[in-house]
């Protein structure tokens, strides 16, 4: 459990480190990257499940975007594997249900079910990779600001920023609680419900007290319900953003309608 909590803190800190690199991708406005990611996801998910080669072609986007942003592709691929278990669980049924042959590789007949399974896995991996590249190159606070600029209500974006701001703090507090109980439980790894309930209640009560202190401190400093924008989250929409959106949208639409099967 403590490992999971530590991993979560590491992930949060890593996200803060990666969003301020001096590459072209990092300098772009969050809105342009968000729009391109949405166009990519819609195009990717609209490819029929039996079109393996068409789906494979969509790997162009994460490869190129990772390179433009100066990211190594292998860690992004490794992190995207998180999606595999649930997608594989759903896709597994297709293998048994759809058994007619779709194409042959020499003597090997590939069924519709296996193709659908592979396409589902690919979709899952590519969509997560697109999302990881978006957040790694933009950062959470800038992305929240972009959402606000795109019309999402301020009450909600303020809430998103608040959760992010206090997450590290509460994760550290959970680690401290977990260490305290581990020190007294003589090797027991899981806690029975009653102990767990008291543990979580302690965390909750501390959370409420903390929220009260924060609320008073913020009111004393003139908080009116609006979170001020941090200096590095302020970006302008420039010509590069328009070019990025138009360029990638054209490529993605092209990928969607150009089929390698028909070309060869």
């Amino acid at each position: 459990m403590r490992e999971r909590l530590t991993r979560a803190i590491d992930r949060l800190e890593a996200a803060e480190r990666t969003d301020r690199c001096p590459t072209l991708l990092h300098r772009l406005d969050g809105r342009s990257k968000l729009l391109v990611t949405l166009v990519y996801l819609v195009a990717l998910l609209s490819v029929p499940l039996t079109q393996l080669s068409d789906t494979l072609l969509f790997a162009v986007y994460p490869f190129l975007t990772a390179s433009i942003g100066g990211f190594r592709y292998s860690p992004i691929l490794r992190r995207s594997l998180i999606v595999v278990p649930f997608v594989a669980f759903i896709g597994l049924f297709d293998i048994f249900q759809e058994r007619e042959t779709l194409f042959r590789i020499g003597p090997l007949a590939v069924s519709v079910g296996w193709t659908m399974f592979a396409v589902l896995l690919l979709r899952g991996l590519l969509s997560v990779q697109a999302l990881l590249l978006l957040i790694d190159s933009t950062g959470y606070p800038r992305l929240c600001r972009s959402l606000q600029q795109l019309g999402v209500s301020e009450a909600f974006t303020t809430q998103l920023l608040f959760v992010h701001r206090y997450l590290c703090l509460l994760l550290r507090e959970s680690i401290a609680l977990s260490m305290a109980i581990d020190a007294r439980s003589f090797g027991r790894s899981n806690y029975p419900l009653r102990i767990w309930g008291t543990l979580i209640c302690q965390l909750l009560l501390r959370t409420f007290d903390r929220a009260e202190r924060i609320g008073r401190a913020m009111t004393a400093r003139g908080f009116t319900g609006r979170m001020p924008a941090l200096p590095y989250t302020r970006t302008r929409w420039r010509t590069a953003d328009t070019l990025y959106v138009v360029g990638w949208s054209a490529v993605i639409v092209g990928l969607r309608f150009v089929s390698p099967e028909r070309l060869l």
Partner: protein, 321 residues
């Protein structure tokens, strides 16, 4: 229960996204009004969101199974903050999980918000938890209400997942059999969620009973029914609209060809230029005798290799200090 982007079609994602956005908008307006009376609400929601995230990482042992479970938090947050503020708080946790930890897809966000946040905060809490717990709950009532609400929320969530994947055409498994698979798993998770919620709420009642929001006014049934009808109507309208856009009818060009020739498929004429072009294509094609799907795969592989090569060239070089 986090749905990945791979498991939903754009039409289903857009419909669920629109419904969830409408509800989040309504929650935002309600919370803004609530915020004027209670200035602590904003930090409270933010910090409790972070609390739910942290609490989800602390597991408890499920007796007799050897496995462990964790809290989801919808019912717990509703009991502490009220359903609308809880919806906004849980939604922020789900969005954070999606954006920072890739747990659930960006396009499937609407589905995940609906399945986990809307169904537990706006359906299971007011319709199951509140009537059972009552205004002055005893520990027994809290346990019964939490268990019932946890089970109902998770079962509704499982049903929604099945409907969304079936409507997206993702799985070849019939809806009934898929539901039979999902339902027992989520029954166990629901019992775990209910037990966890009850354990925390009982402890809160013992140590800080004033934190439980038992003083909330009873929901106006007529108003709730009108709101639900509006959202169902909205979902049906959006679903119909998107399915019309994505219909399998011929597109404009195909329609024109069909009007002219009576079919959407055209065959090439057997005259000399066409035959020569076909022969040339057969000779120059890299994989002429292979199945087109396999040929497509090989072609895509070649394109990807070229792209990977280009990508390596494009990567900015970092000078070592």
């Amino acid at each position: 229960m986090h749905l990945s982007d791979a498991l939903v079609s754009p039409e289903v994602a857009a419909t669920a996204g629109a419904v969830s956005l409408l509800l989040l908008g309504a929650a935002g307006r309600k919370v803004s009004r609530q915020r004027r009376d209670d200035e602590r609400l904003v930090p409270l929601m933010g910090v409790t969101g972070a609390f739910v995230f942290a609490a989800q990482m602390i597991n408890f042992a499920i007796p007799g199974t050897g496995s462990s479970g964790h809290l989801i938090g919808g019912i717990l947050l509703s009991a502490l903050l009220g359903p609308w503020a809880a919806l906004l708080t849980l939604a922020s946790v789900i969005i954070l999980q999606c954006l920072l930890f890739a747990d659930g897809g960006l396009l499937a966000l609407g589905c995940n918000l609906f399945n986990m946040a809307v169904l537990s905060c706006l359906v299971a809490y007011p319709l199951v938890y509140r009537p059972i717990a009552g205004t002055n709950p005893t520990p027994r009532r809290i346990i019964a209400a939490s268990l019932a609400a946890g089970i109902v929320a998770l079962q509704l969530g499982a049903l929604a997942v099945v409907l969304e994947t079936e409507l997206s055409g993702i799985t070849a498994l019939p809806a009934g059999r898929f539901l039979l698979l999902m339902s027992p798993i989520h029954l166990l998770i629901g019992i775990g969620e209910g037990a966890g919620t009850a354990a925390v709420l009982c402890a809160v009642q013992r140590y800080r009973p004033e934190l439980l929001r038992n003083d909330l006014p009873r929901p106006n049934r007529r108003k709730t029914a009108r709101l639900l009808a509006a959202f169902v109507g909205c979902a049906l309208l959006l679903g119909g609209l998107f399915s019309w856009i994505a219909s399998s009818r011929p597109d404009g060009l195909e329609w024109s060809v069909e009007r002219l020739t009576g079919t959407t498929e055209l065959t090439a004429p057997a005259d000399a230029p066409h035959a020569t072009a076909a022969r040339l294509q057969q000779r120059t094609a890299l994989l002429p005798d292979y199945d087109t799907s396999f040929a497509g795969l090989v072609g895509t592989g070649v394109v990807l290799l070229v792209v990977i090569g280009t990508a390596r060239l494009l990567r900015p070089t970092h000078k070592k200090p």
